[in-house]
Amino acid sequence: MDVSMVKWIPWISLLSAAICGVLCFRRAWGVWAAPVTITAIAASFVVAMLAAPSGLLRDDDGRIADALGKSPHDIGQTVKAIDWINLNERDALMDDGSPPATLEEARGLADQHQSARIIESGEAGYSVRVPGLSANFSYYIDPLTLLMLFVVCGIGSLVAIYGAGYMKGDKGYARFFAAVSIFIFAMTSMVMGDNLVLLFLGWEMVGLASYLLIGYYFKKPSAAAAARKAFIVNRIGDLGFALGIFLTYMRYDTVVISEVLAMATSPEHVADWRDYWIPFLLMLGALGKSAQIPLYVWLPDAMEGPTPVSALIHAATMVTSGVYMIARLHPLFENSPYALPTVATIGGVTAFFAATIATSQFDLKKIYAYSTVSQLGYMFLGVGMGVRYAIFGGLFHLLTHAFFKALLFLTSGNVMHGTHGQLDIRKLSGLRHLMPFTCWLMLAGCLSLAAFPLTAGFFSKDAILVGVFEQGLAETDPNRWYVVLGVLGLVTAFLTPFYAFRAWFRVFMGPEKYEMGTEAHGDEEEHAHPSGADSHLIDEDHHAHDDKPHEASWLMLAPLFVLALGALFVGIIGYKPVKELVEGSTAVISTGKESLISADLNLTLIIQIASGIIATLGILTAAYFHWLNRQAGQNLADRLAGPIRVLENKYWVDEIYDLAIVKPLRLLGWIFQLVDTLLVGGLVKLFGWLPRLLGQLARPSQSGVLHGYGLSMLAGVALLVLLILLAAR
């Protein structure tokens, strides 16, 4: 399949979104939404897997060529679909507004502009063409894109299939799939976008899809609030992203990524203050989208959405777009001395910070949400390095995390499904017999998340940590700060299995005990059919399982098996291909191949052993406190009541934000409202009253008395004549 076929990928999903939109109109039509969407995503996946590889640069033995030192134009292909914002090229003019007359002048002028072309135009002299703003629906396909398409469309298809079962009977069935389709459109546009503005389009539109899906159960005020919060927090990040785009355009006169990267990595490029700031602005966007400190607060709340959404958008794909963006624009980040360290630091700290919170949450999905934040922190840590292995690690972790976290969420969806929305791990216990498949599937996910040796998570996380230590212990110019981050990563690697298995042991092990939920999924039907509550959640056999947790349908389980296989084995089978992909992508065009530390220190092995032990320790700890001896866990918790309270309340970050930012702004709004009506409006009123005041003053002159009039007239005449006399002097 020709590489140009990839341009259809986003539009397939948009078409599907439109069809689903139409299907929304009749409830009966709604059932067709799932097949349409699944077909669309699967088709995208097929097209991507068939068409995209043919556009990649390969070396002689058919492997993907290493990107080091190559131009982005070579390692990837640009495929244009349609114009979006496409302003013509224009002629640059001299300072006095004239075109350059001589070649010297033209050269001088061209030097002032990035990517300017000098064109000889006959007798008229020379013209210097500088690009206009060209931000089209045009796609850049390099190995990184391929990787991302694999994740997005692959996981997307699986989750969509799961969703078809999970959402069955829901009134908003078609609406759900319409939003999912929009999401896939946006996400594919984003990962394929050849320019920053298209990237931004995808960036914001995934935000929209996320907004629509978090707020899917729109009747729940908490869902509405969470959706709003997600969108707004993301917007804060987007503000930085947008400004970053502006600054990039200011610097490079283009927003086309390949051109920007080509210029940024060219040897003649001399970084100036703009290069210094660009990554920081872009980073702001990444922090928002990938839920890093300080903009992570929206993600835990986002779990209000249907579970497939949490799996797809808020775990596997959308939230990783920050990682993708940093990887894609890595050369830009390298141009600024403090940008990458900042990314790494934020990532490391977030990973630890979120993990601590995750250890003391009771809501299953919340635990996974904080876990996602934490794992994203790892990825940031990875791509925040200047070494290849770490970047690879970050992106590899992106892939493995997509598998195991999607799996975890979907299995927790099963739990939720089976227990009518009960997610509190304190109220569930020993469900392994009632939900056997779910139990073992989730175990696979937990193991991978815990980075248990030989699972997928193990390889990817280790790659990150190796990279970190590599940079920290580098022979030349070592930066000890990275050692600190690495240690932080290792500590987190202990916390991760602990919280993961804490939940698993609680829910599936131990004595069988459960409290059914009260249906957390909104009350869609209640209004129309008061007796038919919950009916949408459960299949036909709803009544049989009314008060007992039950296993999910096969439609839902089938994709989980695929995910579980991925979570367990993608680390082994995916290691090489992914490494090849990453090393052939723009992320590493300016990052050297050779290791920074001496070969005799087998860092990889050390880290792997260490982290394997740490993971096992973490699992064992969790097993002791939350399975074998829950009383001990309780005792420990009682003893640590203070710190746990802090953790349970998530360090009160939400409250602090509310108090420090939201409340003051809103107060300001009220104040401005007052100012507007009283001061600004009052000022206008004052002007309105001025004539009236004058009128009131002038009124006595119209006393109605003849003599008064005569006198006034005379006085007036006298004054004016006096004026003439004075003026004539």
Binding site: P691, R692, G710, S712, M713, V717, L720, V721, A728
Partner: protein
Amino acid sequence: MTLMGEKLATIGPEMVLSVGALLCLFLGLARSARVRHATPLIAGVSLVLCIVGPMAWSAARPAAPGEIALVLGLAATPMAAFLKITIASIGLLLLLVSYRTPDQLPQNIEIERSGAAFDPGQTTRGEFFAFFLMSLAGAMLCAGADGLVWLFLALELTSLPTYIMLVTTRQSTLAREATVKYFFLGALAVAMFLYGFTLIYGATGVTQLYTTPVTEGLATVQSVVAEWRQEGQPLPLMLLVGMGLAILGISFKIAAVPMHLYTADVYQGATTPMTAFLAFVPKTAGFASLVLLLGTLGWPLPEPIAAMLWIMAVLTMTVGNVLGLMQTSVKRALAYSSIAHSGYMLVGLLAGSAAMEAGQPVVASGIAGILFYLVAYGVANLASFGVLGCLKRQGEEAETYQDISGLHHRHPWLAAIMLISLLSLIGLPPLVGFLGKIYLFAPAFFTGEPAMIWLVVIALINSAISAVYYLRIAAAIYFGQPSEEVERDEQTARMTGSGIAATAAVVLGLGAGALGLTDMLAKAADQPGKVLIQPADTDGDEAASEDRSNIPSATAGRN
């Protein structure tokens, strides 16, 4: 014969009107009711003659150069011609509006109903139309006057009949009170400008303003002043004070501060058609006189006079508008608006025609502004008072906001007429009032003086203020609840009159150019004193520039 014809053309309209007035006066005493009822017809015919006659005359015999069109100190200037046609045309509409005014007087109604024998002591039909015509004739004479004496007489001829009309057309204490104020304060004003005229005469030694009737080479006020100014002498104080007093006295007619105090009371006290008359005719006469008087000084005006006029302009427009805001009576509000509009026109008077003389286009001439604005204000004013005159509340004249509330529901056409006139008064495009504003304010820029530009800004702010009360009227008409007690006075003629005026406001706004009005204006706005005496060998335009340099020697008349 030719000479005679020209002379007739000079004073023809006034003569026609006088004859008409006499006819009305006499026929109004006729025994037959039918004959008595013919008086308005006679008035109408004579007004039509005033419009058609001169037009036909000039069409038949284009003014040949070298002819003296000057009769006894009256000059047939283009401005006079323009004003005469304007006065006659709007006079015709005024006639339509006030056609049945005498019929509505209680005593007349009683007599007509009872079929009692005609008693000249009781009824006033003929007089009304006679005075109507005389007053118009006076205004026309003002426009053509070329001497202080004529000016004085013409102004008096304009006002004296209005006193009588005012008091006889409404059987109400209010009308009497209005008359008292109007008459006595008017007399005061007359004395004032008369004294001013005296001082002007004292300073210059002549009473002719621009031309001399008998011998070429005699001095006129204009020539004397021009000589002084040419020699760089300061103008004598006597002249300035005289001019000041004259302006102030005449500003009674135009209702400018400080001589405006009577305006609202009189307009309110008068019967509504009469108010329309008062708001237009004396004002036109006054402005014509002011233009002629100030023309002798030449623009730019001497500093003291300009300063005085500037202050007067600002005060007039501001006082008019801010007091208009405070009113509960529509009639009174419109009266104040009349004051304000005089203020606007004073801007044109201040700007004058200096720039135009320097070769600038017509729009540079404040005189053109005034002339056009008189038309614009005339039609809008007439329409608004006309509509008001069509309404009665329990037999009394409607005048409060309450009375016109919801007019739209009951009489949409009246409401529409009122709306158009109000919008034209605000100066909203594309109505004639808007064009008037361009004509009036653009010249101010041509003076190039910051003070004048500020004056324009003040004027425009003032028109924004005026919009407040105009809109209040419009809002009452269109948004208010109709009052059951108010009914329409079945007066087709009055409605027609205001309807035509409103139509004119639209048509002239859009088609002033197409109808040739602005070409007439261009001619009329040529320097005021200029008569039809043209050197034999030049045509109009070149003569315009030469004529001014040809100022006759001023010393001849003095010793």
